[in-house]
């Protein structure tokens, strides 16, 4: 199995990163408070969640001012289950299983994401070709390498990381309009310690003021050059939560993009702890049985 399809991205966190409750009225929030609200809501929405999504990746170009694929996208469909753990449920465990393409069906990825910046996230994969569960080195990266990706896509763990706000300087740059919506434009700059673990020297987020959805995120390298951009669209309510159902991240260095289409997303699912263990990767009978129970909760 190729290394490039391996990664430690956490699918439910990717989903959670674009989920924000409508109820928050936050006209006078500081930048830090806005980010804290975002973090809290990310965790809340990724907790006890069952999702099904389609992941498409392609080289892109610009035509008539619009981004578009320059080649046939590689499409994968997957199902993900996540749950919060630890103090205030600030850690997240999730498992993602590839449903398509057929050649990769059953490849599973188990991820533990820790809120504490001092703890490296952990990922295991079950690869039928190897016949065993394999730990994937994740950790931080140096400036020349890319953090682990989600099934070979441009979505990486760092892009979806939660917590660790104390390690950032957070500034509200302005209130502006993005995609026809009023947004806060917020800048986060990692401190020295965090910067050593991050590929980004600065991140700019455009947060929908009414729906608390990130409509756009810009990531900059240490030279101040924008190297990645994430765009959220198809903002709809799912289970009472505003969700950018179509999220696209563009690597502006490699001209490669990945789109995550959230086909289904269900929260409030009672996820047994045993499901978020290595057993789910290796024991297909257990996995399918438990998945059926989880799906049954939706109906």
């Amino acid at each position: 199995m190729r290394r490039n399809i391996l990664g430690k991205g956490l699918v439910c966190l990717i989903a959670a990163g674009l989920l924000f409750p409508l109820q928050i009225i936050a006209q006078d929030l500081s930048a830090r408070e806005i980010m804290e609200e975002l973090e809290d809501n990310r965790r809340a929405t990724s907790n006890s969640a069952l999702s099904r999504m389609q992941l498409s990746t392609c080289k892109f170009g610009v035509r008539e001012g619009k981004i578009t694929c320059a080649e046939r996208p590689r499409v994968k469909s997957l199902e993900s289950v996540g749950k919060g753990y630890g103090t205030d449920l600030r850690d997240t465990r999730s498992v993602a299983i590839l449903l398509e393409p057929a050649a990769e069906r059953g490849i599973g990825m188990l991820s533990f994401i820790y809120d504490d910046g001092a703890r490296d996230n952990e990922t295991w994969l079950y690869l039928s070709a190897l016949g065993r569960v394999k730990r994937i080195a994740s950790g931080s990266s140096d400036e020349e390498t890319e953090p682990g990706s989600l099934f070979g896509s441009e979505f990486t763990t760092e892009d979806q990381d939660t917590g660790k706000l104390d390690e950032y300087e957070i500034n509200l740059l302005e209130e502006t309009v993005e995609a026809g919506r009023e947004v806060w434009k917020i800048e986060t700059v990692p401190n020295e310690e965090r910067a050593r673990k991050s590929r980004y020297s600065r991140t700019v987020l455009y947060v929908d003021k009414e729906r608390f959805v990130e409509l756009r995120i810009e990531m900059y390298d240490q030279y101040g050059k924008e190297i990645k951009r994430m765009l959220g669209s198809r903002v709809e309510q799912m289970n009472g939560i505003w969700v950018a159902r179509s999220t696209t991240i563009m690597n502006l260095v490699t001209n490669r993009l990945s789109n995550m289409a959230f086909l289904e997303m269900h929260t409030g699912i009672d996820v047994p702890d045993e499901f978020l263990t290595q057993r789910t990767l290796t024991d297909a009978a257990f996995r399918e049985t438990e998945l059926e129970k989880l799906r049954a909760q939706i109906n």
Partner: protein, 449 residues
Amino acid sequence: MVLDDDVQFDADVDFSFDDDLFSAAFDEDSSASSASWLDNFTIKITQQFSGQVNNHSVEIPSLFSFPREAELETNRLGANIRYQNAFAPGWLLQASGQIRSYWQDDYQYEAEGDKIDIEYRVNEFFLQRSFDQHSVKFGRQTVVWGETTGNSVLDIINTTEFRDFNIIDIEEARLNQWLLVWDYFGEGSNFSSFLNIFPEFNPPAVRGSPFFFEPAFNLTDYDRDSGLQFEAGTKWRKSFEGSDISFMAAYLYENQMRFEDPISGIGDAVAQVNDFFLLGFSANRAVGKLLLNFDLAYSHGVQADSFSFPGTASLANPVNLKKDQIGTSFGFEYAISNEQSISLGIQAQKLLDEDEGLLSGQSLINDGVFGSWLVRYSNTLMNSDLVISSTLQGDLNANSLLAMLGVDYTVNDNWAVGGQIISITSNDASPLIFFDEDVRLAATLSYSF
């Protein structure tokens, strides 16, 4: 939608995103729930050609030499079928198998008297029942214990068959066996145990294949009437933050049978098997983008003389002694980037008290520290459609080197093509001397659905 591949993005110029680009995912979602029994099948059809392309002669110093001419070695059409069905809560049936048809110029075609030969083989075939914290699987399956990829000293539960040189990885050469496997998933740690009441052994080289050499005596299977043979073992595994460790113990038979000359000097070779005890430990440690692997094996009562290099068989070994052996395999895997990765695995083994029991003038084939090393590199290009990989494999004494360069191109979700070039260099201290200076080319065309 399609643009030139060299279109460059200017981050300073604002742009909008074509929201309809991936809208088909939502449009087609209504059909996603229409499951079919065919969904349980994965089928891959492959046509493969491979051959030795370098005209040369192989010199066996002070013995003889023989010419090695370019020739097609394989020309075969095959189908791999995999079936997985969780047909009831807690139950799973999984099976996989292959069918091969050997066409003209394939060595098996020629071994069959220039007739098309068709071969069937069941790989996996097991029934699984999972309940509470237990899982029981019975049927043909594999047990993988090693952490080191490619050449672990602990990956010795299942037998292997290196039939062709285009298979040099142990994962691909592994054969399933009839096993009863019981897994217990506890709080924070797992036990996995297996029982095998029909131990199998590495199959002899197929007549006509590159590994086949005409033996002085007919090689037969082991005589199973001499008593009950079984293998059993258990492994305990626990995960810590950043690391997984395992301890294991097993009673096993060596996968490679030992053949001795018939006592009367005529008739069939006498197949001998050897049982031994294995104690093992494995661990990994993730450090940033680096994953370190370590396996340790202590074997009590293994045959002193047996080749460990893939594809070789021990024939009429002069020394018939049981010894204890300690072995380790260790290495690392490093993700250079999303597209590139590199791994290294080193396997080293040593017989303990190796001179004990030897007659004057006798020496062991595996003298001192012996083993192999393996380096793999892969690079994915063109949105993962193109994968370039290379493997270098050699023995620790630098007597042989096997280099492989592979290119795989995915045409679309169904079609894929691949090519390999494999070069072998060896001196007369390695059994690979018979393939010294060989260069092999292989090409495959596959259709998956």
